[in-house]
Symmetry: C2
Subunit: 326 residues, 2 copies
């Protein structure tokens, strides 16, 4: 993983600049040498920034910190023990009220697992996942229709102003994180009902359409995100209605208006990949109108599933850690 | 770029194994240390294997070979000069008749350009591109229809038994390389006419749908391929008819039959990515029926546009070559 910021930004299209923005951490080369690999049971599952490391140092019985990496105490033998030990640390840190990300505590747990064989290692509150650079999975739904005169139109949502993350920002139709105990399609069905009141026969029209992967960084933390994407063609008379208080409003836009909205600071940066992927799959963004087309398609699918394996081998080759996957 | 073969193959689904097969060179970590970067005008544009290197050594006035890399003589100042000098070497090698890839000489030129700003550097015969590991671009078309009882059905072609590469193998509906002087959509339109007699109003139904990128290796050479993908919904009464002698036959298969065909040795390995991408975008392969879904989606979009930049920086950091892109 090398620093790729050397690619000149001159002549980048606006959409390519956006794709670079939601991949700012990927394109930095994962800030090699600055963040430390986070290991659980011999597997690298994340990366930890120096600003988080300083808090973890105060829990040496839970986190073993070397010059090379951070390891969850290998004496914790199973899912439950790892989960409760990490939860204790997080609750302590939360009380100190110094870490921005933990102010958005969710009481909703995400699973930490090995990348390829999906071995479950532990779970932790959704708000903490970005502190450890843990791969984050969610679902996103493109709600769209073909308007007789306007052509392809897409429903966007404006997030509630009371949300902890990205309040008031525009986002794709529906999205949600994969919480422990919920399947992927099951989450999509749950979220379209809660966020947009899509129920009954309409739900059956959800079509899985791939996934997008990108690696974003903000002040809050690190976001190696994979979104499972669903397309949902909606009847022209359907008007989405929020049921869980997480949405401010919905708006139906033409494809061109969507592109323009996505390029404004009012759009949630990490919501843009799903929208761009949809507009590419539907031919609206295409090789004839987008000079950086290939580059953008690649930046919608960065190799998150192998990105940490690669670093783990680096450590292994120093003889420090055994790679239990080889 | 690290060796990623360490990911265990145990429990890989059949489709994931196929995705690994057409990415055998990517997953080998680009055989780091074995192949040499190929530089033109300060840009890395390819990789050269030892079996090719031994032939290039006999042309020291054209190729400068160091311990670290191979460079096209920087004294060649422009596109035309580079093109003619390389063509001379290739014609010489072709006469010797020892290099397998050159036996498939095409008299059709592919362009070699810088990855991001698409600066044209030179052109060379299509058959030679794999000897230098140069990025290779083409178009592929998914011809499909919705059958009232069988659901999603897809037209596949069997390649002519007289073709130099992959004779008699099954492949997606239509595909073709991007030759110098032809646009992307233009190539798609030309190929559907020549290979399947799709003309007139039907052509207007070509919908661009993204691209797939993978890095395959065979005895012939290295294939860092990007295919621009188009979808074409065909009327049920349409029967493709070959017009250029490059197709043996066409067959209409259900989605399930396509998957089974793609898993046989009778399917062109490098045709599989386009088919898998289509079946994923249409929801036939989905997170509920494919355990390695995320991994496969990533292996359909490996980062070819940045893969060589990364290596170039390695060289630069040794002080050997100036990175003219930074």
């Amino acid at each position: 993983m090398k620093d790729m910021t050397s690619i000149s930004k001159t002549n980048c299209s606006e959409l390519a600049l956006l794709a670079r923005k939601f991949n700012c951490f990927y394109l930095s080369g994962l800030r090699q040498g600055i963040c430390k690999p986070f290991l659980v049971a011999g597997h690298q599952v994340g990366l930890i920034r120096p600003d988080v490391l300083k808090y973890l140092r105060t829990f040496p019985e839970v986190f073993r910190i070397t010059g090379e990496y951070v390891e969850l105490n290998p004496a914790f033998r199973n899912y439950q023990e790892r989960t409760s030990k990490v939860a204790e640390v997080l609750q302590n840190l939360r009380k100190e009220n110094e870490i921005c990300a933990l102010k958005g505590w969710r009481d909703e747990c995400f699973e930490v697992s090995t990348p390829f064989h999906h071995e479950s290692l532990l779970e932790m509150d959704r708000s903490a996942v970005c502190l450890f650079g843990i791969r984050n999975y969610g679902i996103s739904v493109n709600g769209y229709l073909f308007h007789p005169s306007k052509g392809l139109c897409i429903w966007l949502q404006q997030r509630s102003f009371t949300k902890q993350t990205w309040p008031g920002k525009w986002d794709c139709f529906v999205s949600g994180g994969l919480a422990v105990g919920f399947g992927i399609l099951e989450t999509a069905i749950k979220e379209v009902a809660e966020e947009a009141s899509v129920v009954g026969e309409l739900v059956k029209k959800l079509v899985p359409a791939g996934c997008v992967s990108f690696y974003f960084e903000s002040e809050r933390g690190l976001f190696p995100n994979t979104e499972y994407v669903y397309d949902l063609e909606l009847p022209s008379e359907f008007v989405p209605k929020n049921a869980d208080g997480e949405v401010e409003t919905f708006e139906l836009l033409t494809a061109e208006e969507c592109v323009q909205r996505a390029l404004t600071p009012q759009f949630k940066t990490t919501g843009a990949p799903v929208l761009l992927d949809f507009l590419i799959r539907r031919g609206y963004i295409n090789p004839e109108n987008e000079p950086n087309y290939r580059h953008i398609v690649e930046l919608l699918h960065v190799p998150l599933q192998t990105i940490y394996n690669s670093s783990l081998r680096d450590i292994t080759s120093n003889g420090d850690v055994q790679n239990s996957e080889s």
